[in-house]
Symmetry: C2
């Protein structure tokens, strides 16, 4: 049964704004708590009371925090959407969230969502539906949790030209890499510890393989460059190949290993990538610890900006949801709407091969005179300039040597070709690792 | 002669939004440059072209950057205001800026201002005029230059409860203290160097005495706590009393000296203060170098957030102005308006005596047994708990000793009374310095 369609109109400042909540997990419960405990403040800021008209859940009878009133629960999400002014979606996943939010936008209801998977996969469809309906679509909580990032990028920097976005946007992998750096643990052991402490899920695939960071990178790139970018356009490497050795060598050369999400202009196009990278120890991103997130934004006029805070967690994410909710409620009461996701630029999205970066390559070579000359020649033939070469101080096996080569900036394509060619040299026994160097 | 009053209406997306610029110094020139060079992007984001209808300057014949079209210049600011949809004020100072902006708001024109002196001194009058007229008043550039801070605080965190704002908001003093820390220079020498390099003005009073930081603190406090705070409510101590010795002792105890602007809830009220303080070396604010600014915001749900970037300079400030300009132009074209400066909370503003903080006190005492006991007793009598006491390792004069006392948290009133009483002790020859410790 579908509830009767309730018209959406401007509230008069006395009638409440009708809020439908889709999903009631950790974030949803905190949203309910804030809506309940801060009701007076939120009404003052919105211009009208915010009333929860219902909460759509899969299982109405599941045990819940007592703050969630049982009478509000329903398993008929469509009917709930049809009687709301604002739909707050914190259920996650692509479906049924997409269908429900499109239904809400088509009715002209405002949407606030924390759903990075959905926006990363199919953001443009939602942005388009919001534009077509003249409805608000806000999603601060979908990128970097509580950190105000979406709003600064799409509003504060609207008069500037963003050239690069570079950040740590996944707390789980940052915690794991941090543990490896400070304790020397292997990746498996650090991940196990993160799971014990609840910083990583039982199935950590989305985090450690970089998919979560890639979704956020796609959303940020769309906003920063006014271009349609989906998660499928993002070059994505996770942290599973990072070894304790990589971390130790990084430290020796004054770096830390971080999983970075990078979106940047390149030759009239845009490159978006997620991969582990070496960051200099004195770079502000290097000191971002544990479950914190931080995003660097470089703009032509503003210069370097950094945004730092908690990237996940029920309460921080709920804070971001509520900030958006107050804004769309205010629009409902006083008129107006938020920025349109203008994709007028539509820059071509290029593959990572076009990105300009630097490599740190570790090679195990035969320890005999002339090896360095042979290796250097291959780099020179590919027009990749070497910044430093260093040999490991101690080596258990005297017939081999470990070389650490750091390059100057070149395209990822030429760096990759260089490493492939170096690996073919008879004197090179093994390419031990290849890591990009960023933030210099 | 006054130009005929031009009605203010919604643009249709084709007619340009008429922009009047008040002032054409370093920031104004960069605003003109961005409006000229980024015209197409700005029109796409605003929904209509942005047209400079005039630039009010004191001296029309003064030499200027060629980007500033001479035909746009006028010395009749009032007439210019009367034919604009949006007034961008980058002239600075309280008058005539206040009169002109009130005139603009009363007409219903939107205002974008970078004027921290005016907002710090008399923000509430302007916020009130904007509310009464239903006009937009935006001022991102007035606090921390290019760093998006005003918008996150008044919009992104609208669903949260901010408990504390703590930041480095003056680049000149940060540069001077940074030089003292890294080179051991005296304050006078560091200041002279800053002046040589153009980081400090010939008359640095507003910076070194903390007035500039106090104006920004007042603006931030008003926003964060929905309360009327003017610069006169801000307890303000500058950096002139900071010595090379203070900086050296700070380093020895793992701290750096920073000029902080702090606004926080305290006993149902608000305390706003600007003073030099010791910040632990591993606090993110400690590594904010040179002319950069950074602001920590603590909110109940969001947790700790930090915003970092260039706090001054023509181009970064112009970026912030343009971001606001795009938003108010979009409201003009598509309807809507920004958040109202709701001061519904109107918390009492308390003096610094009510603030809870920690002190680091350096004392020169007579070097004889029992001195420490006497000093400790005075602290205990005032119910101020001591965290550590340390004696200087080397002392040229064996009859004296230098003690460093660090307290636990207490009210500023009781800490001050304690220090006064300690100074009265016959065994205490001199209270060498008193610095607050923050960020712990």
């Amino acid at each position: 049964m579908t509830a009767p369609d309730v018209p959406i109109g401007h509230a008069d400042g006395l009638s409440p704004v009708r809020v439908a909540l889709l999903g009631c997990g950790v974030v949803g419960t905190e949203v309910v708590r804030l809506l309940t405990t801060q009701a007076e403040d939120l009404a003052a800021r919105s211009g009208a009371p915010l009333e929860i008209v219902g909460i759509a859940v899969r299982d109405v009878d599941a045990p819940r925090d007592p703050i969630v009133g049982r009478h509000l629960l329903t398993d008929d999400a469509e009917a709930l959407v049809d009687r709301a002014d604002v739909v707050v979606e914190v259920m996650g996943g692509v479906e049924p969230a997409r269908t429900l939010l499109l239904r809400a936008l088509e009715r002209g209801a405002a949407v606030v969502t924390a759903n990075k998977a959905l926006l990363g996969a199919d953001g443009p469809t939602l942005y388009g539906a919001a534009d077509a309906a003249g409805a608000d679509l806000y999603f601060e909580a979908a990128v970097a949790g509580a950190i105000p990032l979406v709003r600064p990028v799409r509003e504060s920097l609207a008069g500037d030209r963003i050239t690069r976005v570079l950040g740590i946007v996944n707390g789980t992998t940052n915690y794991v890499l941090d543990q490896m750096t400070t304790t020397g643990l292997s990746l498996d052991d650090a991940l196990a510890r993160a799971q014990e402490l609840g910083y990583a899920e039982a199935d950590p695939t989305a985090d450690v393989e970089g998919h979560d960071a890639a979704a956020k990178a796609a959303i940020l790139a769309s906003l920063a460059f006014h271009t349609r970018v989906s998660v499928d356009d993002v070059h994505c490497e996770g942290i599973m190949s990072v070894t304790a050795d990589d971390v130790a060598w990084a430290r020796e050369s004054g770096h830390v290993v971080k999983l970075l999400a990078i979106a940047e202009r390149s030759n009239g196009g845009v490159v978006v990538r997620v991969h582990p990278a070496l960051v200099p120890e004195d770079h502000p991103l290097a000191s971002v610890r544990g479950a914190f997130n931080a995003v660097f934004v470089e703009a032509e006029a503003a210069g370097e900006l950094m945004f730092y805070g908690r990237g996940a967690g029920g309460l921080p994410t709920a804070s971001a949801v509520l900030g958006d909710l107050v804004t769309v409620a205010r629009h409902r009461v006083r008129g107006g709407k938020g920025p349109v996701e203008s994709r007028y630029a539509e820059l071509p999205v290029r593959s990572i091969g076009a990105a300009t970066t630097r490599y740190q390559v570790r090679l195990r070579v035969v320890d005999r005179p002339g090896v360095l000359a042979q290796v250097s020649t291959v780099f020179a033939e590919h027009r990749v300039s070497i910044e430093t070469v260093r040999q490991a101080a101690s080596n258990p096996d005297p017939t081999h040597a470990d070389l650490l080569v750091v390059t100057h900036a070149a395209t990822d394509d030429s760096l990759r070709a260089t490493v492939a060619a170096v690996g073919e040299l008879p004197v090179v026994e093994q390419v031990l690792s290849v890591l990009r160097v960023e933030g210099v």
